[in-house]
Symmetry: C2
Subunit: 337 residues, 2 copies
Amino acid sequence: MNIKELAKIIGVSSATVSRVINNSGYVSEETRKKVLLAIEEHQFVPSAVARSLSISDTLCIGVIIPDIENDYFSSIISGISEVAEQSGYNIHFMGTNENQRLEQEFLNTVESQRLNGIIITPVSEMDEKTNEKLLRIQANGIPVVLVDRDIKGKAFDGVFVDNLSGAYEGVMALIQAGHNKIAIITGPETSRPGRDRFKGYKRALLDAGISLEENYMLSGDFKIAKAYQCTKQLLELEDPPTAIFSSNNLTTLGCLKYFTEQKLKIGKNISVIGFDDIETLKMIDYKLSVIARDAKQQGRVAMNLLLERLRSKTIPVEPIRQNVPYQVILRGSEHLK
Amino acid sequence: MNIKELAKIIGVSSATVSRVINNSGYVSEETRKKVLLAIEEHQFVPSAVARSLSISDTLCIGVIIPDIENDYFSSIISGISEVAEQSGYNIHFMGTNENQRLEQEFLNTVESQRLNGIIITPVSEMDEKTNEKLLRIQANGIPVVLVDRDIKGKAFDGVFVDNLSGAYEGVMALIQAGHNKIAIITGPETSRPGRDRFKGYKRALLDAGISLEENYMLSGDFKIAKAYQCTKQLLELEDPPTAIFSSNNLTTLGCLKYFTEQKLKIGKNISVIGFDDIETLKMIDYKLSVIARDAKQQGRVAMNLLLERLRSKTIPVEPIRQNVPYQVILRGSEHLK
DNA sequence: ATAATATATGTAATCGGTTACACACCGAAT
DNA sequence: ATTCGGTGTGTAACCGATTACATATATTAT
C-alpha cells in the first residue's frame, strides 16, 4: 500500500493525502477526515525512505563509538538517545571496537545512508583517513561532533573534558597524600585523552619536583587485560610504585583485578586514582578515588551541539568546543594509612 | 552528485555505472576502469536511500531495548552489533527506558523506516498495543526476534533463558546453605522474566517445604532505587529474612547498596543470590553468588536468528525459540559463616 | 555462411513520497 | 461588475538509485 493507491481508494490525489499527513497546504476539514479515516482503516504507514529521498533529509544521525560495553560510552549513548528522541531524530548505531578499518567503513555508511549528522568518538586522533573523511563529510554539510576524543586540527565541534587538568589534579592528590613513587598506565598513544592525561601526570610530578621514572610509565590500551599486565609489571619492579594513576575506567578495573589477586588493599598497601568513576563500585562503597564526570550529560551536550548545527545549517567556521566539568573525588584510595 | 551526473561526465549511461557499482550484469573491463576511476575522482557515494527505495530493502534492522545503561543490555547490543557488522546490516538503535509509549513510537518508526527486521526486549509482556503492532509487523514480513523478555502467545522467535529453573536453582542453593527465611525482590509483574523468576523462587521454597511469607516477597522494578527501598523494608521487618533472592543485576546492586550502608557483609550477616552476574564485581573478587549467562552471546544468537529469517524470508509458522544456558555460580554470598 | 549465444550498453519505467504550478471556486473589496 | 486574495485540489516533475527490455556487436557452433 502506497500513497497513490490509498489516494485512489479515497478518491483524492496523492498530493492531498500527503498534505494531510504532513499538515501542510490547504485541505478542507471534510477531506482531511476522510483521509485520516482511510489511513487508520488501511493501516497506512508512509515510507520514510521515499520521504527521505524526496526531501533529501533522513532525520537520522550516526553515532559511532568504540566500545559499547564500556559504561562510559553506554551512558553517553543514553544521553544522546534521550535528546535525539525528544527532537525527532533517529539513531544509526555503529560500534567500532577500536578498529580503524571498521571506523572508516562506518564513515562510508554515514555518507551513503545520507545521515544528517554524526557524533563520534574516533578511535585515534592520528588516523589520517578518518580525519580526511570527517573533514569531507563536514564540508559536505553534515555536521560532526566529537565526543571525548579530540582530533588534531580542531576543525570539529566537540564535547571534551579537560583531561590534562583532571589528571594533574588527580596525580597531585596522590602527591599530597605523600606519594612520590607514582606510576601511570597510559591510554594508547594515538588517543588524545590518553596523551593529555599522560601530560597532566608528568606535569604534576615535575611541578612537585619528582623526576619521571621510565619504569613507572607503562602504556596501556584502555582495556582491562592490558592494564592487568601493566599493573603486574609495575608491582614486580624491584622498587615498585606506591601509587598508580590509571588512565580510564577499564584500566582501573585491570589494576583492581591484579591488586585483588595479590591481596593488596587499595588505600592500605597500594594507592590508585583513576580517570572516570565506576558506578558499580559506588554501590558497595568501594573506596576508589577518581576523576569523575557526568557521561550521560556529556552525551546530551553532544546531541544538543549537533542539533544546533542541524538547525542552523552552518558549516562551522568557528567550531564550538565545550568541556564538561570533572570532579576529583577522593574516597581514600589516594593515601596509604 | 548523483549517478546520472556522474554517468554523463564519464560518457556512459547511469545503468552502466550502476552495474559497475553493484558488480552486476555485463560491463567491459575498459568501461569498468573508467567508471571506477571517475567514482574515485569525484568521490561519488551512491545514495543508499535511493537504493533502498528502488530495491525495497534497507539492510537496516531495528534494535529496541529498555535500558542501554544496564550492562546486560549493552552486552546484548555488542553481540548483535558484531554479527550485524559481519553480515552487512546496519543498526537502528532505540532505547525505550521501560516506557511503553516510546516503545510504540519506535515500532512505528520500524514500519515507516522500512527496517528489515527487529530485535526487541519489550517493556512488558502484557502490553496489548505492542503485542498487536509486533504481530502486524511480523505479518507484513518483517521478522521479529525477542530477547530476554517473552510475550505471551509464543508467536515470535526469541532467545531467552530458563528463568524459572535458574531462579529455582539459585534459591535452592540458598536453602541448601541452610536458609529458610528467604526473601525475594521481584521484577515488574508485567515482565515475563520477572514472573518466571518469581515462580522459580516459590517453587523452590515449596519443594523444600518452606511456606511462602507475604512479607518476604516485595515487588521491584529491575532498578536500583526501588531495590534499595525494598531491601531496607525487608531488613527492617521484625523477623527479617536471612537471604534475599534478587531478580536482576540492578536489583542486586540496590541490595548491595543498602547492605553496605548498614555495614552488613554478604556471606556473613546476610545472604544474597542474584540473577545475572556483575562483571565489575568480579574484578575485585567480590563474593557475590549469581545466576549468570553470556549476554553478548545471547545478542549474537538473536542476530543470527534474525539473519536466518531475513535470508529465508519465511514468516515463522513455527517460531524458533532458543534458550541460552545459565550457570549458577556460588561464590560465597549464599551461605552465612 | 548462418544461426545461436555471449557480451556490452543505453532507454525508460519504477520505487513512494513531496511540492511547484495550474486551475477552479469563493467571498470581500473596489 | 470586476478584481483579488484565500481555499481546495489535481497534475506532473523530481529525489537517485535499479533493472527489464531493447539493441548492437563479437564470438562460437553447425
